[in-house]
């Protein structure tokens, strides 16, 4: 057995070498376009990204490929947690990733990221002030904002017209409205905290207790339909099975572009926001190209094109005039700088370590298992 193992791995290597050659051939055959396609083994000219599915305009990827004469490979993940697991396990060498802000500190601690070298980013100055120097990444050492998602309340005006733009519709005494909440502890507890006038990242036991009591009442209401994902809530609004839904603005706007009856607003008491960031990974085979791509995304035209494709919030100040008129007409799409500075929209941050995460967990478990 001991003698068998090395030869088995030798065979494996030989086979994998054959496969490389094979895939090079198919790459050359399968590509009739003008894009230059250097071999996949040549790391100097391949950019590998790990990001959310359907999260970048394919035209912009093509543009970058043509401009730099490189090939861009995009792999997708479906949650921050599974992305972390795969990166920590090794064996996958990506240059770039798009983690959400609340896992950024975890990634820094796990030594998965390398500093950005901001001096090499000539478009760094385009970033909107509300996203500069965020508390999850002081001084933007590791990240630039890619796209963001504010959380709002949405309704279908052919069935229901809200009297005011407030969380009261959900947390108040009124019990006729049918509503759904996001299936996400930080969003749901965060909304309750905001309604009560506290921070979405609160670690104070009394504040969390108040939020818990409020949420206990809320899920007991007759109008409470379910905890669901964003796209699901959009579909429920379209189908008319709920009147009101907590939702990521981007998810709703994709539907609103096709159905004029869908609307979304950011409640007066304030709401949560989360950013997806662009980071260069420590194991990146090609960090220089990764930085070039980040600089490319920070170009106003490119940044606007990506938002016009995804309908997610745009953190690039100079891209704002280039956004789709439909997006610009939506008040909930881009919170104003004042809304940021006043704390009306608040980033969801990683919770302080210690007892706090357990408190959030306990509230959430109780709500879900009612």
């Amino acid at each position: 057995m001991k003698r068998l193992l090395p030869s088995a791995f030798g065979l494996l290597l030989l086979l994998s070498a054959c496969h490389r050659i094979e895939s090079k051939d198919t790459a050359a055959e399968g590509n009739g376009t003008t894009t230059p396609r250097p071999s996949s083994t040549d790391n100097g000219s391949t950019l590998r990204m790990f990001m959310w599915s359907d999260y970048i305009d394919p035209e912009m990827v093509k543009l970058f490929e043509q401009r730099e004469g490189v090939r861009v490979v995009i792999d997708t993940f479906e949650s921050n947690e599974s992305m972390l697991a795969k990166l920590q396990g090794g064996g996958a060498s990506y240059d770039l990733a798009t983690p959400s802000n609340y896992v950024l500190q975890t990634m820094v601690r796990a030594k998965l990221l390398q500093p950005l070298e901001k001096t090499s980013l000539k478009n760094f100055g385009n970033i909107s002030p509300g996203f500069l120097n965020p508390n999850f990444d002081p001084g933007n050492t590791y990240s630039v904002p890619y796209q963001f998602a504010a959380t709002g309340l949405a309704y279908n005006d052919s069935r229901y017209k809200p009297a005011e733009e407030s969380w009261k519709l959900i947390f108040g005494p009124e019990d006729r409205v049918k509503f759904a909440l996001l299936d996400d502890p930080r969003e749901v507890i965060g909304a309750a905290l905001k309604y009560l006038g506290y921070s979405v990242n609160s670690g104070k036991v009394e504040e969390l207790r108040a939020a818990r009591d409020l949420l206990r009442q809320t899920v007991k209401k007759r109008g409470f339909e379910s905890f669901s994902g964003g796209p699901e809530i959009r579909n429920k609004l379209l189908a008319g099975s709920i009147d009101l839904g907590q939702i990521y603005v981007g998810d709703l706007l994709q539907g609103a572009a096709e159905n004029e009856h869908l609307h979304v607003f950011l409640p007066n008491e304030g709401t949560t926001i989360s950013t997806d960031t662009l980071v260069v990974l420590r194991g990146s085979p090609n960090p220089a190209l990764a930085r070039k791509f980040i600089d490319f995304v920070l170009e106003p035209k490119v940044s606007a094109a990506i938002s016009n494709y995804t309908y997610y919030g745009n953190p690039n100040a100079r891209a704002q005039p280039l956004l789709d008129p439909f997006l610009k007409s939506q008040k909930a799409f881009n919170p104003t700088p004042e809304e940021f500075s006043s704390g009306r929209v608040e980033f969801i941050n990683e919770l302080p370590r210690g007892n706090t995460p357990r408190l959030y967990d306990r509230i959430w478990t109780e709500l879900k298992s009612r």
Binding site: G30, G89, G91
Partner: protein, 272 residues
Amino acid sequence: MMRRTHPALSAWAALTYAFLYLPILVLIIFSFNDSKFGATWQGFTTRWYGVLFARADVREAVLHTLEVALLSTAISTVVGTLVGFGLWRGGFRGRTGLTFLLVTPIVIPDVVMGVMLLMFYAIVRGWLEKTGWTFENGFWTVVLAHVTFQISYVALTVRSRLAGYGRELEEAAADLGATPVQSFLRVILPLAMPGVLGGALLAFTLSLDDFVVTYFTSGSGFKTLPVLIYTAVKKGVTPDINALSTLLVLFTVLLIVISALLMRPRNAGEQK
């Protein structure tokens, strides 16, 4: 004469089938829905299938999926058949232990298997790097991972196929002058064939559908269909993904039907 089935039992069976198949039916119907979000029925269209076939990443993923499934099935069928044969033949110590070890990859949660293999590859890479060699996760690590769980299915199918036959078959073959290799190739293997093919098809469909293990072991730049579909779902299912899933379901069902047909006839004939 056939005994009458109680109506309540038939109703129960019908409900069970409805529970199993209605979601799949909904998926298939909505792949023909003329709406980008598919919440309500907007009319019949086949355009999502057009959108689907125009996508280069889908074509690439289909190719990867088939390559992995075919190769891993070939390897696991050969190895699994020999293991199944050995288990049936017995004559060595620790047969029960070995059977238990074969069941383990079947009952172990996929996530555990995926993470386990990811760590295993990392350790092997660490060893290799000391000798100046290295490899990246990709096609071959996925194939090897699939073989790991496929072998169990093939071996157990082959063993249960042979279970009804006694060792006398081999002895009779030997009496008639067959070498051990000849008796395996000419007597045992033909008898085991339905089990071998059934196991192979089972292994093939398992490889085709696997998401978790593939996600963890695929490294960068290597996607299969289930990975493409699953990661797309989080940002909202687009109807072309429904179309893709429909095709995948139909293909898998076809394979399972073939596998069932291959496993059936002889057993049914003998047990009368």
